[in-house]
């Protein structure tokens, strides 16, 4: 008996629900370039993940859910926002699945589908950082943090005192440093956001 089944032949015999499940797995594999179907749940990713204790779904479960086609649950999870791309999982995976790259792809898919980010502030912080680069070509801590605080209404209580200390040490300059080639930066931003 052939164990490897031709995908097209198999698709014909599947129900619509099953087809949708396979489509999400294929989509996630295509977008990330990672072979997620290889995962056999060894749990090395979750064991080494620094933020797994704070995730609503652990990395290994997330991959299983993708295999099972649970698109809504995956894209609406907080876990995809909690990954800090430390790449411990991808380095240790016996099947060489680079989960950090997968997380990037899942966040992009969530945004394209208009899913409201479960970790709103993490999303807004990234957004504020990117806007800071868009404005001047270089990141500027002070304006970026102000932008984030205004967007999120997060007063950043945990960072306020150490932030002021850094400022007093002259490590948070008030004036930003801009690139000269603002037109080039603008062009890159336009081209990279238009195709989305």
């Amino acid at each position: 008996m052939h164990i490897a089944i031709n995908m097209e032949e198999r698709m014909e015999t599947l129900t619509n629900v099953e087809k949708a499940n396979i489509t999400f797995l294929e989509e996630a594999e295509k977008r990330s370039g990672e072979k997620l179907s290889l995962c056999y749940q060894c749990l090395k990713c979750t064991a080494g993940c620094p933020t797994a204790p704070y995730m609503d779904i652990r990395p290994n479960s997330l991959i299983r859910m993708i295999q099972m086609g649970m698109k809504k649950e995956v894209l609406e999870s907080g876990a995809i926002w909690f990954c800090v791309y430390c790449q411990t999982c991808g380095t240790r995976c016996p099947n060489e699945i680079h989960i950090g790259i997968l997380m990037d792809a899942l966040r992009e898919m969530a945004m394209e589908e208009g899913v409201h980010a479960k970790e709103k502030n993490i999303h807004l912080f990234h957004e504020a950082f990117i806007q800071s680069v868009r404005r001047g070509g270089r990141a500027h801590e002070v304006t970026m943090l102000m932008d984030y605080m205004l967007r999120s209404r997060d007063l950043m209580k945990g960072s306020l005192i150490p932030g002021v200390k850094l400022f007093l040490k002259g490590k948070f300059p008030l004036l930003p440093s801009f690139v000269k080639g603002k037109v080039e930066i603008k062009r890159i931003f336009e081209k990279c956001t238009k195709e989305k």
């Binding site: 620094p50 704070y54 993490i122 950082f129 950043m156 948070f172 080039e184 930066i185 890159i188």
Partner: protein, 297 residues
Amino acid sequence: MSFAVIRAVRNLGGFIMKFSYFPGCTDHSSSYEYGRSTEAVLEVLGVDLVEIEDWNCCGAAATHSLNRLLSLCLPARNISKAQSAQAGPLVVPCAGCFSYLKRTENVLKNDEAGRKEIEEIVGFTYQPSLEILALMDVILNRIGLEKVQEKVKNSLKGLKVACYYGCALVRHPKITQLDDPENPQYLDRLMKSLGAEPVEWSYKVDCCGADLAMTYSDVVKKLVGKIVSMAKEAGAQCIVTSCGLCQMNLEMRQDVGLPILYFTELMGIAFDVEKRENWLKRHLISPKGLLESLGLG
């Protein structure tokens, strides 16, 4: 054979090595100590740094989190600038910037469709001959530890350091191609060459929590707390690092008062760089007491 020739040429007196230099956005702000000490020690080592003209942000963690294409194109503009400068390999001190430049380089080298898309957007033609190197790699493998040792005036004898590599330098190893991802030795070897004693500990590649510090500072506090307390338990008097974000997190989010220094700062102290006061005074946890106790103040 060719290596022997290069080595011979390098050892000739007065020979100056030249590199393109990407300082990164935090060079004059939150990583002030790293930027100034890097410039100072490379000057002592006879390295000529040519800053890339009009460089831009590498995109950092935020960009790849939301927009993959943008996160590849922002570093590509810097690569194109380094290519036109023709000032030698591109050296990057910040571990984060280094990893994002390498991530783009990996696509430019190994994914033809991706390369064409990036080239079209940024408007350049990629030349694979441009090398992108971490500063630590340059010091160990291009300049060499013999030369570093020659320049040591104040041995760091008696100083116990915990070498903290963090994530970006060693992971993903296929992309950064630098040292062992689980038990790297570069920093340890460098510290030994300065006379310091690196301690054995298990947290050298654990993540500090990176930019979650801004949104979930309590999570980062826990992660940092573990790293710092383990370094202390291993007998370290300070932690050395090569990443701006790691340094800031480790220094800001701990309550045990363990100094966190860039490896270049300790090189500067060992080389007896006069200007070192300019950067040492910027630390939130002052290393002065520690340095004075060892006669290095």
